[in-house]
């Protein structure tokens, strides 16, 4: 999938071929429909900021009950009036509002920490592979190939079968699973920048490998690679949600979005809000991250996806 440069081309509307061939043959223009949706991107950023803020301040809000404490009758429908009952109560009468916000803490912490870890480690080794090539590249490529040779969720499930899962193990597992993506991106970018004139110039002026790597190449590699971060974080939230949903993620007393979906799924006919609320939150978060990620990629990743 290539993100074509958005070169304005003259569309020939007069011929019968318009809309079919419709573009200048030399540079086919692929309208990506994203240029018009920047309002959606802003809304997405707003949502992410809101949910992150809510997750951070949740423990300090005096009017918010603890996530494990029942606050009313079970399965109360969402109702205006009090903040803690705004989204209703779950199967044993706990406030869904509280649990959503504490769940956001888990999802976002896992995504941010695991994402940062995968990004740092992956970019570093990817740059080494792309810069030094030959043996270094061979070894790093082999390791990434082996890591990619296995369905990620199955790998995470296998990890969950060995260690009792908690926030830390889930984060570490997701961080490791996320590394190969960044290795590949950083490697490709480092390769293309490594053969540029300014790098040769730096070498001829006597710069050593570390200096070339970190002062010449890294500043150019970081933006395109980092533009994939939101999308990778979205997939980490999906994976964390999936694991919690299967009961193999963050263990039950701790609220998590995936766990809430799993708890409510058997009574979806009687009390649909118990399932639909966490679904809405997780969907909006994934959607926002994807939107922001698409925008960043279109902006910074000139090569390909």
């Amino acid at each position: 999938m290539s993100i074509t440069t958005r070169v304005p081309t003259i569309r020939n509307r007069r011929t019968k071929l318009s809309g079919f061939v419709g573009t200048a043959p030399a540079e086919p223009r692929v309208p990506d429909g994203r240029t018009r949706t920047s309002i959606v991107v802003w809304l997405s950023l707003g949502w992410l900021a809101l949910i992150a803020l809510a997750a951070v301040v949740a423990p300090f809000l005096p009017f918010l009950p603890q996530p494990a404490t029942p606050v009313g009758m079970p399965r109360l429908a969402p109702a205006l009036g009090s903040f803690e009952l705004l989204l209703g109560t779950d199967t044993i009468g706990r406030s869904i509002m509280t649990r959503i916000l504490y769940g956001a803490q888990i999802s976002l912490t896992v995504a941010v920490v695991a994402g940062a870890f995968a990004f740092t480690v992956g970019t570093f080794f990817g740059m080494l592979a792309g810069y030094f090539r030959s043996l270094t590249d061979g070894i790093i490529a082999l390791i990434t190939d082996v890591m990619l040779a296995f369905p990620p969720l199955i790998l995470l499930l296998a990890i969950a079968s060995l260690v009792t899962p908690d926030v830390r193990t889930v984060t570490i597992g997701l961080g490791i699973v996320g590394i190969p993506t960044f290795v590949r991106l950083a490697r490709a970018n480092a390769m293309s920048w490594g053969s540029r004139e300014f790098v040769r110039a730096a070498r001829n002026m006597g710069a050593g490998h570390p200096r070339i790597l970190f002062r010449e190449i890294m500043p150019n590699v970081i933006p395109p690679v980092a533009s994939y971060l939101p999308i990778v974080m979205a997939s980490m939230i999906v994976a964390e949600g999936g694991l919690s949903f299967l009961g193999l993620g963050v263990p039950p007393p701790t609220p998590s979005w995936g766990g809430m979906i799993s708890e409510g799924k058997s009574i979806i006919a009687q009390a649909p809000h118990i399932v639909l609320i966490p679904i809405t939150f997780i969907f909006l978060t994934i959607f926002s991250l994807n939107q922001v990620g698409d925008r960043l990629r279109a902006r910074f990743d000139k090569s390909a996806s």
């Binding site: 061939v21 692929v30 199955i154």
Partner: protein, 316 residues
């Protein structure tokens, strides 16, 4: 031929590696398994005896070799809880998982192709933009998001389909379809979006090529050119993306099977992980690894069928 041999060899290596790593990891965690089985009143002698019977006291590589020799002969060991042969339990559950995956991929490819052809025929039109927006939404709806919504809308609000349950295909195909359609859709959702995005870009690029203009100039119809000339090169990248997504698809299938309480392989995996049933987990993981490798192999071979240029060994 040489290419096929290379690919098969690589696939076998992956399977060996994966099962070995799985075995080592499980052995590391298995310290308390015998104790867990016997309960808290077990004496150390009892624990040792059971470990010896299960072979847990031998070195890891020996356990792995014994298991491997058995596995090659089709014997994956017996479950530590139900005492049933692992291979039998897996085989009994294959039809469900296979049907779901097949239906999911079929739905995804068909729907995405229709969407992409509509998009590419009228690029930048309101229809195209609507389909793009729909794709963005679908892309953000993994199985555990799409599934409950499907259940809620189609089974509860509309009441068209039964909520949970399963009827084997061999018993009653129509009833079976009623139970299978929602899970298959839930698996397909994200794939539809991914494939639509890719095919659309691809088709629009191809349609801008000179040979399309030439074909149109010779008086061939739009639809004819679309399918005959434009779609074939695009099907190539369709398959690539499918191959990349197979891993996600398998993972998604596990979640969907659990969500819809279907008697498939994925459900078996989750149950055996929760109960720490080592032979069962290892058996299922091996099975999934084999399927994964076979599917990638099939994709590689399909390249050769679709694109004659690849019929020689290439370094990817």
């Amino acid at each position: 031929m040489r290419m096929i041999a290379l690919r098969v060899g690589r696939g076998l290596l992956v399977i060996l590696l994966v099962t070995f790593v799985a075995r080592v990891m499980l052995s590391l965690a298995s310290g308390s398994i015998a104790e867990g089985l016997l309960g808290s009143e077990a004496t150390p002698e009892n624990v040792a005896a059971l470990e010896a019977r299960l072979g847990l006291d031998r070195p890891i590589w020996e356990q792995y070799l014994t298991w491997l020799v058995g596995a090659v002969q089709g014997d994956l060991g017996t479950s530590m809880f139900t005492q049933q042969p692992v291979a039998e339990s897996i085989i009994a559950r294959i039809p469900v998982s296979f049907q779901l995956a097949a239906m999911g991929i079929l739905i995804a490819v068909v729907v995405a192709t229709i969407f992409a052809i509509l998009s590419a025929s009228f690029p930048d039109s309101p229809l195209d933009r609507a389909l793009n927006a729909l794709s963005s939404v679908l892309l953000s709806a993994p199985g555990f998001v799409a599934g409950p919504i499907f259940i809620f809308v189609f089974a509860i609000v509309l009441g068209w389909l039964p909520v949970l349950g399963w009827v084997p295909l061999s018993e009653n195909p129509i009833e079976n379809l009623k139970f299978a359609i929602l899970p298959a859709l839930a698996i397909a959702v994200q794939e539809i979006a991914a494939l639509h995005r890719l095919l659309r870009t691809d088709l629009i690029t191809t349609l801008g090529d000179d040979f399309i203009l030439a074909a149109r100039a010779r008086g061939m119809g739009r639809a004819y050119v679309m399918f005959r000339h434009a779609f074939r090169p695009s099907s190539f990248s369709l398959i690539t993306v499918l191959a990349i997504n197979i891993g996600n698809l398998l993972g998604g299938a596990v979640i969907v099977e659990v969500l819809f309480s279907l008697p498939g392989v994925g459900g078996l995996l989750v149950t055996s992980i929760t109960t720490r049933d080592i032979p069962m987990v290892l058996g299922v993981v091996t099975f999934i690894a084999i399927i994964y490798v076979i599917m990638n192999l099939v994709v590689d071979l399909l390249y050769g069928v679709l694109d004659p240029r690849v019929r020689r060994p290439v370094a990817r």
